[in-house]
Structure formats: C-alpha cells, structure tokens
Symmetry: C2
Subunit: 289 residues, 2 copies
C-alpha cells in the first residue's frame, strides 16, 4: 500500500530511498575477508558479504529513511546465493520497519507476470492449502512493454507498483502516461495517491514538473540522484505543492559514501547515514520544507 | 553462439525447444511426496521437486531436442530455493549437451542490464582475479524497452540474445524490427544467422512469414505452440525456405503431456518424450522436410 510509504516519508521527514545494490568490489575488506574466510571465495562467500554489508547499512539508517530499494540484477549476478542475500535483506529491512521495493523491472506476458507478482508481492501455493511468500516485498518496479497483460497481475495484488516511464514524449510514452493518470484517478488512497506509481529517471528529457502535472495521482520514484548526476534542485519538480508525492532513490552515493568521502572503510555505515541525512536536508531545502 | 543451436537443431532434426517452467501443482505426486518428505512442505521441498521433475524430463528428451528454455518467473516464485533449482537444471541440461536459454525478458537501464548479462551469459568477478558464472546459460531473452543501453551489455557477450518483438505493426515495432535486421546483417555466423535473434509469439498480429522477410538474419524463437493455441501449420511461416532459421518452444504441452493425455503420472517423462517427437513430426511435415 502506497499509504504506508507516504506515512513513513512523513514520519521520517525524508523522501530518500536507499538503493541497496551492493557489488563485492566496493564492500569494505573487513566484511569480505570475514565472509570469504567462512564460506570460501565463491558465490556463497560473496553473497554473505553482501548481506552483512546490507544489514549494517540498514542498522545505521533505518530510523531516518522510509524505504529501501533492492535491484535484483545485483543479487542475481551472485547466483541463487545472491538471491538468498536479497531475501535476507528484504526480510531484515521489513523487520526494521522499512518499506521494501523490489526493483525487478518485470515486463513479461500474462502467465509469467503473474508468477513474478506471486514471487514478489504475493504468495506461492505449495499445495495442501499452504501458501508462502517467496520474497515478500512491499512494492515492485515493472516495465510496460507487454502492455495491460503484463501489468495487471501486479496491479491486482493491490500493493504498490512503480511503472517505468521513459517520458521521451513519443506517442507510446504519452499513451502510457495517460493510462497511468487514468488508473490513478480511480484508485486513490487516503492521501490522494494511487498504488500505481511511476519510476522515472531524474534526467528525463521532459521536465519532472511536466510529468508531475500529467500524472497527478501517481506517486513517483525518482532515480539518478547523486553519483548519477541529479541533485535536490533537479528532483524538486517531481514533488507536489505540499512537498509530497515522490521519493528519491540513491544507491552508490549512499552505499559507497565512505569511498566518495575518502573516510575509513570501517565507518561505511556511519558514512551512509551521514549521506542519507545530507540528502534529507538538501531535498527539504529545495522543497522549502 | 547461435551456430551451436543451429547445429543441434540440424543434428536432432528437431526445432523443438522444451520449455521447463514447472509448477508444483502439476508435478506428479510421487515426486512431490518424496521432495516434501525429505525437506518439509516449504519452498526448499517445492524447489527440490521442480529440480527432480526437470531432471527426469531432460533424461527423457535430451537425445531428441536441441535446447531447453527456462522461464525465470516460475523459479523465482519458489524463492532463492527456486533459483537454485534453476541453476541445477541449467547445469544438468548443459551437461547433457543441450543449449540452455534463460527466458528472463530483461529490460533495464545500462548498469543493471550489465549485471544481468554477467549473471546469465558471463561471469561474476568475486575478487582476487576469480570470476565465476552465476547461472551459466547459453542465451537469454531480453526486452527492448530501454533501447540500446539495455540491449548492448547482452549483445557484447557475443552469446545469443532473443529480443522480444511484439510485431504489432506500430511505429515502435517497425523501428525495432529494422534495427534487429540491421544488427543481424553485420553479425552473421557460419549459417547466415546472427546471435541477435527475435522472440515472437506465434499468434502475432502480423503473419510470421512477414516478420521472417523483415528480419532475414535473425534467428527466431517462436512461443505459444500447443496449449497456447499454435500448431505446426501456424508456425511454419517463421522458418526460411530451407526449413531452418527458427525454433519453436512449447512448455505445458510437453511437461504436462501426461495430464493432457490422461496417462499415468509415473510416465510423465515418457509422455513428454512422445510429445516432443510428435512436435518434431508435425513441424517437419508442415515444413515439407
């Protein structure tokens, strides 16, 4: 439910989403040494290091951010062991009160889309009336490439879906934006926003404030902040007049803040917290909050 | 390499790809009982049943088909345990000489696309100069939603990429088809076909023979055969004048042949083999081979 994310943003006074997309080469040596020492230098060891890294980041920031976003590519590259780290991270983040977004950009035909919806937002039937959640996240990103049939299974879960919008101002993009706008109008939650949101790059050719006007009920997740070039000023247009309606996700600039700031690797989690608080200050200033 | 797939089709005289997308509710009871008995009625038990089911299907058909296709959705819905079954299946199929296609329909931005390309077609760097394959498949399906940046990391691996083509005859579809045609011309293998292929539904609004003419160097993977409605006659247009240039994937009609034919569950693997041989006969007849 988008209402839960909105309430968390309000409570933490921070629209910052920490993207947890760890890569082994950027994880501090004391964590990788321990993980590889225990499991061997293999995918299991690497995945253990990812999970320990994520856990410490979550411990350090959970009280000042509303949500985390896990990009599945950076877990699948470490095999099923990586996907186990994905699940552990998602579970732990949830336990710590965070809203968990699976960035899977799923775009498939109806049958497969339904299976992905079960995997990330629903439950898997394993017989004898037993249903278990496979990854148990609160929201997903989806690709609209296959149209209605690929989106419906996710929308039907009534959980939050961020549809990837390119906003290139081509005919196909306009059709999609209109569709999201329409879907939003008929499915507003308590705060006026719908579970059917949009995932948008900050560097989108059309200005974010244009896009904001086009889809007034769609909650936005904006990517590209920090290392990828966007800053508080450039994302401000994504928000509504009350400074609400959007979250801004950053990954490398938070996770690897200790590298960017040339501070001690042992303090990577404190550095991540400092960056998250910095983002809060910057964005709130740009939004005049 | 597409050449390997072409040679396998030629050798087996069969353009049939077995889609291994198992769902626990359709797996014979003697396999699920054993798996759940050993691991408990949980995702681990379910995933074990998927793997045992797949292994027996592969044992039964490996000498008469060139390739298998694993749709990742049907593994992810069983969690990381399901992805372990995916890897075991892919490894075993490879060992049995089959060409392994990961049906992931990946469509993401450059960074994530590169991570997926590493995961399925390449290697993952885990430090100290050690690189390990995460899923080690021979080909993937990709979505062109994010354009060039999302396709390039896969194409750069020089392995086989099937780009999902909707063939709706819209402007965006025509642009994509022209692009695939162009890419194919400059990257032909020994048999005139490129590593950059196309994934197409048999029920595509434009006829398959039209699409065939538009992308003469693109190897096709056609879906929708069997339970989904297409038959040998309706897929024949996807092939070139030599009866080559395409494979036809079927999943439920092969895997669950024992259900469709109301034969004993214990004979599910023999039923799958019979269906695969039936597809071979039907398609070769339609192609006048």
């Amino acid at each position: 439910m988008i209402d839960r994310l909105i309430e968390a943003v309000e409570k933490k006074k921070n629209p910052t989403v920490a993207g947890l997309n760890p890569r082994i080469e950027f994880i501090p040596g004391h964590l990788t040494d321990e993980a590889f020492g225990r499991y061997g230098r293999n995918l299991e060891g690497a995945a253990e290091a990812l999970w320990q890294f994520n856990r410490r980041i979550i411990d350090s920031v959970y009280d000042v951010i509303p949500a985390v976003k896990l990009q599945s590519a950076y877990y699948e590259m470490y095999g099923w062991e990586g996907m186990r780290a994905f699940k552990r991270t998602a579970e732990y983040a949830k336990k710590m009160g965070l809203f968990v977004i699976a960035d899977i950009k799923c775009g498939d035909r109806a049958g497969a889309a339904a299976a992905y919806a079960d995997a990330y937002l629903g439950n898997t039937d394993i017989g004898m009336g037993i249903k278990v959640p496979a990854f148990n996240t609160d929201a997903v990103t989806v690709s609209p490439y296959f149209g209605e049939e690929g989106l419906k299974p996710f929308i039907d879960t009534k959980k939050t879906v961020f549809i990837a919008v390119k906003a290139l101002n081509k005919e196909e993009d306009r059709v999609l934006e209109e569709k999201i706008a329409k879907l939003g109008e008929t499915s507003r939650g308590t705060y006026g926003y719908s579970n059917i949101g949009a995932l948008i790059e900050a560097s989108t050719p059309e200005g974010l404030s244009n896009i904001r006007r086009k889809m007034p009920c769609a909650y936005f997740m904006i990517t590209g902040y920090g290392v990828q070039g966007a800053n508080a000023e450039s994302v401000a247009g994504a928000f509504d007049r009350n400074g609400a309606g959007a979250v801004v996700s950053a990954s490398r600039s938070i996770m690897y803040s200790y590298i960017n700031n040339k501070t001690k690797p042992e303090g990577f989690d404190a550095a991540a917290r400092a960056e998250v608080l910095n983002m809060r200050t910057e964005i709130r200033k740009a939004l005049k909050l």
